[in-house]
Amino acid sequence: MLSRLPASSLKGLRSLAEARPSAARSAAQTASRVRFSSSSASSSAVKSFLDSRATLASATLLTVGSIAWYTHLYGSLPFLGEVHANSPAEEGLHPPHYPWSHGGLLDSFDHSSIRRGYQVYREVCAACHSLDRIAWRNLVGVSHSVDEVKAMAEEVEYEDGPNDQGEMFQRPGKLSDYMPPPYPNEEAARASNQGALPPDLSLIVKARHGGPDYIFALLTGYRDAPAGFEIRDGMNYNPYFPGNAISMARVLFDGLVEYEDGTPATTSQMAKDVVTFLNWAAEPEHDERKKAGLKAVILFSALTAISLYVKRYKWAPIKSRKIIYNPPADKGHH
């Protein structure tokens, strides 16, 4: 480094000399005596420490590593964080991070949990919430066998038609039918819920900040409003809901459903199952996606390694060449 800088400064001077003929001679003559500040003497130990690639690599690793660690610990990037347009009270309490069985990079959904979660949805949530984007066929091979799903679908009457006489008729559900909504339209839904509209749950996990953690915290987070918190009639206090006042009352209580596999139906068990089910409903491609992801990582890391090897192989002659500069004899150093 020390030896290269003055040499390169010389190069700069030479091109300068071409550009400005008047200053050319004096510049070139004094060039060897000019000492630039960047070439001033400093402790060579410090210099070599600052210039070493190991220092650069370890500093970068420290930065990237600590950012990754922070992100892992707090769930958001340092400094950038999440987008907050409101005060923390208006945003709602930040949900804790729960150890979801499908949370890891190599984890698939717990499908018996999806099955239990479907039961909770059907017996509890479906009274008010639709699940428009899920058809009966989607459950096949995920939580139920085809015969079970056919039987469940047939229990529901769907309007079909018109028939040959031009009349609409009712028929039992088929695998291709979508989950029946609890209300025929938005107005009916609002009328039955004191003006509040229960949102469709097909995408709820992806459509809420915090995802499954938020839904779980919301379902299990109902409590008495703290002293001084004014809550309107018909509203319920929930610290995780933005604004803290939610129209939906607490619905999950211990023993509310009876699981067919004998799992004790505690509040948190039901919340965990229904959130897993809703997470599947929002991301039905989840298991397939992570499997494909592992293949892609294997494939592209191998290709990166191979291409690095090929690049170094191709470049070896260039990297090991020696460049010698012979100044032209007639011009010399003037």
């Binding site: 700069g12 987008v83 990166t304």
Partner: protein, 384 residues
């Protein structure tokens, strides 16, 4: 090999890609050009397949996107790839520009090359914005409303212009239709601009880290730089895969999974992350019209660098003071990005205003003054 050099069309391929002489000393920072080309190809390919299933209608757009995600074979992979490559496209273009800033790639004889690049950046941003509207979630609708409303700041005909763009009195079906049409058109305009970018590059070739002429030491594109580019392309695919398959929605906003509802404004309306620095500049100016001018000005000000950089030395490699101020500029850019994501209250507004002032001063004051000082100091040092 003879065909490659004799055939009228293949001869061009040969001269641009195969035998093109590149400076031997260009670093991995010169790989971002090829990465950006890969991004454009990926976006056009995935986009064409998405368009086969997408419905540009306010009633069906959101449902058709969910149809792609749920019912189309591997539709989720195509859509997640399209959404995430958009982000990488901007990461790469920012690094590509930063490389140009650091090594003075905008200086003569590459002024045209740089200018075409700035146009490409603006068209890219327009394309990204139009594409974000198409899924027609809450953030699509309200983002479109906010951004198109910016034009109403233009005096006299601003409001008329906005209504002309909307095709109505608010963002509606006509708006979504034309945004889809333009989102399909602009990438091909981008491709044409990329060809112009390459033609402008061709005569003098790439700049290099030393900033001096490199005609004495060049290597052919193939095999040296094709294989070097391949390393970063596969590395890009690796990182992209991790996003697409494991964190597909990390760079998106959860509100965009709520269908657009003109009757309900989301709690916060934020643009995509790559537009945040310019959004911060917009909000730093109290006057709406001046804010809009500043926002567009912050992009087009890149065009004056060939004029304001008066230094006789190309690039920052041998200019320690300019190196320092380059990194100040980079940090300032990230500060603006952070400010753009915050609610406009004190102290964020004040920080944003200082950062905006620094952003513009860097181009019109710091760069020319540093160049002048260095030239003068060098003259003094070399004077007898």
């Amino acid at each position: 090999m003879r065909t490659l050099k004799k055939n009228m069309l293949l001869r061009l391929v040969n001269s641009y890609i195969v035998d093109s002489p590149e400076p031997a000393n260009i670093s991995y920072l010169w790989n971002f050009g090829s990465l950006l080309g890969v991004c454009l190809v990926l976006q056009i390919l995935t986009g064409i397949f998405l368009a086969m299933h997408y419905q540009p209608h306010v009633d069906f757009a959101f449902n058709s996107v969910e149809h792609i995600m749920r019912d189309v074979n591997n539709g989720w992979a195509i859509r997640y790839t399209h959404a995430n490559v958009a982000s990488f496209f901007f990461i790469f273009v920012y690094i590509h520009i930063a490389r140009g800033l650091y090594y003075g790639s905008y200086k003569s004889p590459r002024v045209l090359l740089w200018s075409i690049g700035v146009i490409i950046l603006v068209v890219m941003m327009a394309t990204g914005f139009l594409g974000y509207v198409l899924p027609y979630g809450q953030m699509s609708l309200w983002g479109a409303t906010v951004i198109t409303n910016l034009l109403s700041a233009i005096p006299v005909f601003g409001q008329d212009l906005v209504e002309l763009i909307w095709g109505g009195f608010s963002v509606n079906n006509a708006t979504l239709n034309r945004f889809f049409s333009l989102h399909y058109l602009l990438p091909f305009l981008l491709a044409a601009l990329v060809v112009a970018h390459l033609i402008a590059l061709h005569t003098h070739g790439s700049n290099n880290p030393n900033g001096i002429g490199s005609s004495t030491d060049r290597l052919t594109m193939h095999p040296y730089f094709t294989f070097k580019d391949l390393v970063t392309i596969f590395l890009f695919f690796l990182i992209l895969s991790i996003f697409v398959f494991y964190y597909p929605n990390m760079l998106g906003h959860s509100d965009n999974y709520i269908p657009a509802n003109p009757m309900q404004t989301p709690a916060s309306i934020v643009p995509e992350w790559y537009l945040l620095p310019f959004y911060a500049i917009l909000r730093s100016i109290p006057n709406k019209l001046l804010g809009v001018i500043a926002m567009f000005g912050s992009l087009f000000i890149l065009l004056i660098l060939p004029i304001t950089d008066v230094s006789r030395v190309r690039g920052n490699q041998f200019r320690p003071a300019m190196k320092l101020f380059f990194w100040f500029f980079v940090v300032n850019f990230f500060i603006l990005m952070w400010i753009g994501s915050q609610h406009p209250t004190s102290p964020y507004v004040e920080i944003g205003q200082i950062s905006t002032a620094f952003y513009f001063l860097w181009f019109i004051l710091i760069v020319p003054v540093l160049g002048l000082s260095e030239n003068t100091i060098m003259d003094v040092a070399t004077e007898k």
